[in-house]
Symmetry: C2
Subunit: 393 residues, 2 copies
Amino acid sequence: MSLRTVLQLVVHGEATSRADIARRTGLARSTVSQQVELLIGSGLVEEVVTSASVRGRPPRLLRVRAAAGLLVAVDVDVPATRVAVADLAGNTLAVGVVDRPVDDGPEAVLAGVVDQVRRSVAGLDAPLLQVVVGLPGPVDFVHGYAVRPPIMPGWDGHPVGERLRAALGVPVLVDNDVNLMAVGEADVAGVDPPLLFVRIGAGIGSGLVTGPFQVHRGADGAAGDIGHVRTSARSEVLCRCGKTGCLEATASLRAIAADLGIPEVRGADREHGQRTLAARVAAGDPVAVHRIRQAAAEIGDVVAGLVHFFNPRTLVLGGALSSLRDEVLAGVRASVYENALPLATRKLVITTSQLDGEAVLRGAVALAVQEVFSPDGLSGLLARGGGRVSPGS
Amino acid sequence: MSLRTVLQLVVHGEATSRADIARRTGLARSTVSQQVELLIGSGLVEEVVTSASVRGRPPRLLRVRAAAGLLVAVDVDVPATRVAVADLAGNTLAVGVVDRPVDDGPEAVLAGVVDQVRRSVAGLDAPLLQVVVGLPGPVDFVHGYAVRPPIMPGWDGHPVGERLRAALGVPVLVDNDVNLMAVGEADVAGVDPPLLFVRIGAGIGSGLVTGPFQVHRGADGAAGDIGHVRTSARSEVLCRCGKTGCLEATASLRAIAADLGIPEVRGADREHGQRTLAARVAAGDPVAVHRIRQAAAEIGDVVAGLVHFFNPRTLVLGGALSSLRDEVLAGVRASVYENALPLATRKLVITTSQLDGEAVLRGAVALAVQEVFSPDGLSGLLARGGGRVSPGS
């Protein structure tokens, strides 16, 4: 148990030397050294000599051995699926594409994922330790499958996690893709939680990070599903859900493009409409700019209520192409500061995503790192001999 | 460290015998027995002989020794403050009243609280271990004070936690009262999280429980502050915050009573208006019933959006007198099922509070139990010799 404690201190950067560990745990120096040697022996931790000190013994820095294991992140998206391989420090080593739309169904897409993962890790000299999958719909995180996802025909209840675990022989986590974007933003950009991440794209969704690496997923994995919250503008536009007044029906990029007569392109080039819209905004087309600002005000109106309810430290807007995002950011800021009480907004930071299209994969890798070094993950790792696990296991 | 693990298993009811502990921890029976003896020696745990078994050795049940320590819960409310003393199992032993309105300011109220606590625990033969205070406003939970509370003149930033800690010599937690009501509901009624607790009274507020004993307090302690969310009815009634369209301005019991010409009584009998309103509803006054249902529909309209966003398993309505609450429940249910998507509501339980006026004190006691037996709390307890701590320390 104290071996695990020592490892966690190193993983979370709370201790970078044997002296740190002794101070943090109250363990004797000899005990600490014994445990550090064990961890180095297991291959999970390494001790490197730094040259920072001018005199005396050069300090030795304890850190996770990045090469001790591999992590895989899978971003199942509507046009295609991407698969990233990362090392144990979260550095991306390679990204591959499974060229199958989500409409092909889970059997075909997951078969492609398994192939791609096997090819990606084949040449690498480290064991695969964890897979994290993002799906574009509500996810039962505990059981690892999508629950009534509106844009994933055939995926409802399909055991994604179980299927990949059986094929690849490693632990698999399945999460909603916007949740992973929020995790990526919190981890990579280092924004302070509580974080509310709002994705504005063909639809509108959000992800809630309540504390360090704590995602609020809700009772059915549906938390953050704000596309069907009714705006106070009470529009009569019919939403695809069959109701009127939903945020998504008037403020999503799909709705805006339709209003402006920009044709929707389905399939692989689904960003065509967004690019056309962004070009018109960049060219200063007043009708397009006005429509974007109107949508941003509606989003801000709903978000102002959520700011009262959730009291985030940081609100991050993501999803849209960046040229559109500046207009959206201005409109949402104006509306939130207009509609929310000063107490809830005086320290609130409202900003745009730093990760763009990489957010899902980066968040999935971050979650994989956390999972591998969680108490349960660590117990498994140490039991199996850490980084000395053979790639075939 | 494993002593703490063993104690936590017993506290959380996950192990009720030495055999349970051995099974859960993988420790040898002899090690477990040694640790159990240590805990019994510390006075925190006791082993009682039950008569449930017909033959063989009668089973011995391990449990927390309720008499090993005292907990104090403080409910600072507008007309007066109540102070409850409980044992370590969370059973209330006594409740006293500090007859000072919150308007008297923190110095006077807290002096009364200190007096009341000292009198309450004086005759009891166990050490006071933890105090938990509920305040009617946003609270900085980490530092233990109210932040710009609208109905607590003079309390903004006053160091409530520090003050009581210095006077009583024990750890003190300070929280928002609606958060404590939510904790009480989750703990006492055993409702499954995620839980959204909505209090409907003179104002409207809410508390969010994300998981077992995990309260989401937000960046400024203001999470759940839904009174100033704008309703989609877009009323032009001016709210006390200076804006229009706020939920509280049209759907709070104060707003309803004012509409119906029921005079507001300030001070101690602030429930007078609620009782008059409840009497009219109970007598079947159609105007009063209509007005309540209209308010409930507005509350439900806002809550439907929060249901999408937070995806709670349970929605509990509390705060109002129970006769009013039935009308409110029916109205909120109708509105939530009308306005939220079926996916978010198919498993949602919508119910009324089981604790009524006791919710804050019960929640504060529950939080105190959790805190005492948290890893940090336990370390302190064991270091001080558990229940053998002297009352004067």
